[in-house]
Symmetry: C2
Subunit: 511 residues, 2 copies
Amino acid sequence: MVRGSQEPLRSATMTPEEFRTAGHALVDWIADQRAAVESRPVRAQVEPGEVRRSFPQAPPETGDQPVGHRGDISHLLSDLDQLVLPGMTHVQHPMNFGWFPANASLASVLGDLASGGLGGLGISWESCPALTEVEEVVCDWMRQLVGLADHWHGTITDTASTGTLTALLVGRERATGLSQNRRGLVGESEPLMVYTTSQAHSSVAKAALLAGFGYEAVREVPVDPTTFAMDTSALADMLAADVESGMAPAAVVASVGTTGVTAIDPIAEIVDAVNDLHETTGIRPWIHVDAALAGSAMLLEDYRHLWAGIDDVDSLCWNPHKWMGTILDTSLLYYRDPRFAQQVLSTNPSYLAAAGSENQATQYRDWGLALGRRFRALKLWFHLRIDGIDTIRERLRADLASTRWLEAEISATPGWEVVAPVPLQTIAVRFTPPDAIERRVDIDAHTRAWIEAINRSGDAFLSPTTLPDGRWVARVSIGAETATRHHVERMWELMQQAAAVPDPNALPPAI
Amino acid sequence: MVRGSQEPLRSATMTPEEFRTAGHALVDWIADQRAAVESRPVRAQVEPGEVRRSFPQAPPETGDQPVGHRGDISHLLSDLDQLVLPGMTHVQHPMNFGWFPANASLASVLGDLASGGLGGLGISWESCPALTEVEEVVCDWMRQLVGLADHWHGTITDTASTGTLTALLVGRERATGLSQNRRGLVGESEPLMVYTTSQAHSSVAKAALLAGFGYEAVREVPVDPTTFAMDTSALADMLAADVESGMAPAAVVASVGTTGVTAIDPIAEIVDAVNDLHETTGIRPWIHVDAALAGSAMLLEDYRHLWAGIDDVDSLCWNPHKWMGTILDTSLLYYRDPRFAQQVLSTNPSYLAAAGSENQATQYRDWGLALGRRFRALKLWFHLRIDGIDTIRERLRADLASTRWLEAEISATPGWEVVAPVPLQTIAVRFTPPDAIERRVDIDAHTRAWIEAINRSGDAFLSPTTLPDGRWVARVSIGAETATRHHVERMWELMQQAAAVPDPNALPPAI
């Protein structure tokens, strides 16, 4: 081996030994931070621009420490404390009841660290066989754990937004017989229609528009006025009428657990409506199911009736990075038959050419949008190996028991109303003050005000939503990994206190 | 505060203290693994299915350790050694010259760990103000570091594939005057055309097809036969002729550093061609620049002439997760004016509603495809703070010097040919054996064979590509963070040895 003359053996960037020192310090910092999270305000107490202005406008010209001393990251940890922590809304806080749970279990944080440490590159099977094959393994494990049939094959994407967009792109191409191989959508003559409800996640409409369907092609299927679930007889009528008028139903996006009130669109009935259409017209729209939150509930066998019929849809996504708690970004996208998706999503350039054996391997780049992929499977593997699915299931059951307790408390309390069924762990709730009529209280404004008062206090966090009739309600979404029954009980106290005040935001902040 | 009765204070998942213990062990494992990476084969020595079959078919029913002992991850680390490491192609290895550098600097691994530990959720400014604002800060720092004008505003996406798809979606909507607000692409009458070269990354054609343009709408602009860069007079002619024929040029995707041979499309000339078209026809196609690899070179002032004109295009992406070495996924997407992109990409559902101050804040969900986002900015922040941009620049310069050295060696050696200009750190090379004509050697087959022989040996790794005329060549892409001059010298020895053998793969594997 020819040795270079004046070149150093390694560049002056952080060495493994410096990483060891700094890594220990950072692990300690994280452990301390997680242990202390309950002492912090849930919602960040900063104004827009405040964090940004605390940073220098120009980039640093050099590293914090001289070469050889890069294991000392004390300046950086101190800046994390001073500059970053105040700008965190702590979704890992046990009093976080906002949006949906976004748990970042410590076991999965370690899996993510292992992925980073290995520094694998997922652009083809060959570029990291383990990255591809462990992903195949854990996607199949997760399939088994939620009771899906073995015809499903999954991949890990960043988010359900991406999964839904991908599904709609694939569905668009099935509906047009691969228009992408011709003149694209511009060459199509029949309007391509997408069906979903007003309660679907915002990513569904966004995905439909980005996939080129157009606002006028997104059909809003009515929902049942009490369950907020898709009215499938209305869907059947719309499908038939649209075909009659010369339009081409391309896709139906159903939600199992909508973002507002966790409404459950009836999958089996949707499948029936689509099958009927197929039998009578030969047209078979792609059915995609967004179960981003609810997928975690399907880890519990007695909840699987909520997505009965699921094995007959075309694609589905759900997010272990929500309630189950495998850190973001861990969104599972399953195809009933990935071969068609691969046709739509394939890339096969020469610079990815490899030896013959490559052809027998899964190329996940052809299952989604991005070419380069992280070794995301390690997060799920670590989570299952360290915490154990039995422990995770026990936690979900405890959350569901707390939800039932809170639902009963709310229902039994004068002025309080649970405004939608509670199939999972989110309660949509509204309070009408006893003197609302005589005081001409604007209940919507009052609802938003008492939510904001709680959020502003930093003691707890919850988010508002609107119902199809326009009413504002509060959502209490139970399931932060650190939360126990007493946090739910405390939340209920805070809600009653805040809502009882005529002008909740006239109160001084509690902290 | 009401305390729950029989509920435990925390679920039985990993605690901060267990994380501390396990985290230290994992950090040590990573430091050891990185320190030993040179002793491993570069390319994984496994067959398809081998890693998968080493895992159980059914998911584990419980965690490895009982509750209270979850800090012991020795079983998992041992399985990482036994099951995962053999399936790694070690792109962090100093003898990795394949594809493009995919450096995962240890400083940025720590930033990624800080992100995981904090467990922030990026779905709106409010959900994590620091996540949004530190991203604004580091995107602006990176803008300054590559010398872009201050009208650019950036965001961090996962990959350039996603950035290019996003840019083409936004460009499509500009070309159609927001067709998404009407009937979508189906409602358009004029064929919408996209212009790029055969040398563009596979993600460009994929993005164009997914954006609904269709194969027939993707115009392949000829390249210069010696530089492989876009022929801009041909572009100008194609644009004019297409408009003449009733087609609508919607977007031009230019590459600064193509994936095959790092060809540099001349940006200023492309801008001129588009401006001319705009003046004569009123049509102004969106210009997107893919500088995924080459962006890192722009950290060096004397390389910025390679993308002269860049400030006048509409969007650009480049990947610090390549040569610069901020771990995947760190792809920067910049908009000259993000306001139009926000119109195309916006979501504004009620459950994300927040207090009024929110309206003054950046909502990155409206800059890209995904709603949920990780705290990716920390990777860049840690990388700049720990390693320092001065050190990073020094490393890039050393790689460029090694490249010039190798290019000179190859050019001076009989039978060896550098087949394309070498503007950056990748050399496309071909060897013709001295007796090639008399032995009727198939040079393409021989090229692939000697590349495969090196890759199979595990001693080093490089990838093949094809030129526009169909010839197969080897790519030597210099820039693994751990590589020094002596590794490049060793690579050159291995190439000469492997290529000199009539049937390189008849040799037994070297390891």
